[in-house]
């Protein structure tokens, strides 16, 4: 009955939801930011350790739906080791695939992020998938306040 929704809820999403990666506090984080989606109450705290413009470590804590948890978990895996500029460009790409403005993006080049492309068919859930990424953008910009998806 619910098979048709597997484009959104892929096994990888369930796996990251059940066992989120990097779900921890970084004690010596250089940036820490709270993200909030007022629509559904999802909250995330993102920890970032930057050294010489490179994301040396990244982690998160919080509570949210399967889509936001999996997206945060996958994000922490793919941005570690990137420069701030590379992370910023990846955010821009991710934003485009989740909103369907991705004619020039090849899904196979996206690696792990591709599993979240299905969210574009569910406009009400796009903010779930992008909460962690908006938090990352704000952390890189060193904004000290809570970021909101609204």
């Amino acid at each position: 009955m619910l098979d048709q929704i597997r484009d959104l809820y892929q096994e990888v999403v369930f796996d990251h939801n059940r066992n989120p990666r990097n779900f921890r506090v970084i004690d010596d984080a250089t940036r820490k930011i709270d993200g909030f989606n007022p629509l559904c109450g999802d909250r995330i705290t993102l920890y970032l350790k930057l050294r010489d413009g490179v994301i040396e470590d990244v982690s998160f804590q919080g509570q949210g739906c399967a889509i936001s948890t999996a997206s945060a978990s996958i994000m922490t895996e793919v941005v570690r080791g990137l420069t701030e500029q590379q992370a910023h460009e990846l955010f821009a790409t991710f934003h485009r695939i989740t909103t369907g403005q991705d004619d020039d993006v090849k899904l196979e080049d996206l690696g792990k992020l591709a599993v979240l492309a299905g969210v574009r068919a569910y406009p009400a859930r796009v903010k779930c998938a992008t909460l962690a990424w908006h938090s990352l953008e704000a952390a890189l910009a060193d904004e000290a306040t809570t970021v909101s998806t609204e």
Binding site: M1, L2, D42, C65, R125
Partner: protein, 421 residues
């Protein structure tokens, strides 16, 4: 009244039998399919669907009778005015107010509460005074008072709730004091379903001479309302939750209070005479109805009230209670499901959480099965904080829902649990 909308004969209802199939046939949208499945609409606390009579009424007003009200000498203006004032009279009868001039048309419950806060509140509440609300209020019965407090230096006091989602009535009595200037309380909680003992609340407040505002957004669609018997000072509800159009709602206020209150907004229709030196305000209720109102929507709200009166609000309440009891019983047998809001006196709202599945995911998956529920904080974040949850799943029932739809919901929840297992 010289004008009425066309009568569409319906078969006479059997007073001893709540014929839900017959009612469903009156609601065109219930024939819709969603993702190939029949629509199971269980988001009625957010808004209700409209019977054909309401949809037709809007269409008929615009096709045959429409013009501005209280303005022209021409026929259409007179017809619209008669229909508009006829709707006001229907609202008066529906809640048993003494006079039609105690019925103020507003956009909805939210505007009604803001109106009272900014008129009655600004005129009667000052620094050091207290406004008493409860911990289960919708944001629309919190924020207008916070704004008033910021403007006046008054403070907001909050009656706590317990784990069942019932008011702590001992705390309520303790919180009532010589500084309390107004009690504003929700009749039925949109997040928990709790029906509050407003008779007792009004009695205790009145013993101290304190007026009471009742937020009836959820109660008016689901139970008989008698503002005369309640003796409440203000009562507010929304048309769109009452099978009527959106953008129209009602503020009831006791005549003596409304008379003494300053106007809300300035403009046309709320004045008697304007010069550049001074303005004389119109009589009730027009003093509070500046500008062209939602004419067709108010008239169609009258049609929705006719529709409900024919079925009878007691019959509606009984039907919805049967659905709630059945849904609650089935929900209790689902492992990992926790009902949020288990008050003794409840309206037809089932709010719950599932272990390991976030409400937002439940909402998306159930939608695939054609089932519309609300997932979120229900504009009652303090309630969510109290229960320690970010959000709940909420199924809310209306007169057109059936036991089969409860079954569809429960089967759908089982499928969601399996997908997330």
């Amino acid at each position: 009244m010289s004008i009425a909308l066309a009568q569409r004969p319906r078969p006479v209802a059997d007073p001893h039998h709540f014929d839900v199939a017959r009612i469903r046939a009156d609601f065109p949208i219930l024939a819709e399919t969603i993702h190939g499945k029949p629509l199971v609409y269980l988001d009625n606390a957010a808004t209700t669907h409209k019977p054909r009579a309401v949809i037709d009424a809007i269409s008929e007003v615009y096709q045959r009778h429409y013009s501005n009200v209280h303005r022209g000498v021409h026929t259409l203006s007179q017809r619209s005015t008669d229909l508009f004032e006829g709707a006001r009279e229907k609202v008066r009868g529906f809640i048993n107010a003494a006079k039609a001039r105690e019925i103020v048309f507003v956009r909805g419950t939210t505007e009604a509460i803001n109106l009272v806060a900014q008129t009655y509140g600004r005129a009667n509440i000052g620094a050091g005074d207290e406004i008493l609300i409860t911990a289960m209020e919708h944001h629309s019965n919190i924020v207008p008072w916070q704004m008033l407090c910021a403007q006046t230096g008054a403070t907001l006091q909050v009656v706590p709730i317990d784990r069942r989602g019932e008011l702590d009535m001992e705390a309520f009595e303790r919180l009532l004091n010589d500084r309390t200037r107004l009690v504003s309380v929700v009749h039925m909680s949109n997040a928990l379903g709790t029906v509050n003992p407003i008779e007792t609340i009004i009695d205790r407040a009145h013993r101290r001479g304190i007026p009471v505002m009742v937020d009836g957004a959820q109660s008016a669609p689901h139970m008989p309302i008698d503002v005369h018997a309640l003796d409440c000072d203000f009562f507010a509800f929304s048309g769109h939750k009452l099978y009527g159009p959106s953008g129209i709602g009602v503020l009831y206020g006791k005549e003596a209070l409304l008379k003494a209150m300053p106007p809300y907004q300035g403009g046309g229709d709320m004045i008697r005479q304007v010069t550049f030196d001074k303005t004389e305000y119109n009589e009730l209720p027009y003093k509070f109805e500046a500008g062209t109102p939602a004419i067709a929507d108010a008239i169609a709200l009258g049609t929705a009230i006719d529709y409900l009166q024919e079925i009878g609000m007691t019959a509606v309440a009984e039907h919805e209670h049967r659905l709630l009891s059945y849904a609650t019983e089935r929900a209790m047998h689902i492992p990992g499901l926790t009902v949020i809001g288990t008050a003794h006196d409840k309206g037809a709202i089932l709010s719950f959480t599932l272990e390991r599945v976030h409400p937002h995911d439940v909402g998306t998956l159930l939608d695939q099965l054609g089932i519309a529920i609300r997932a979120g904080h229900h504009c009652a974040m303090p309630v969510m904080d109290f229960f320690g949850v970010p959000a709940t799943v909420r199924a809310s029932f209306a007169l057109y829902n059936t036991a089969q739809e409860v079954d569809a919901l429960m089967d759908g929840i089982q499928q969601v649990i399996e997908v997330f297992a």
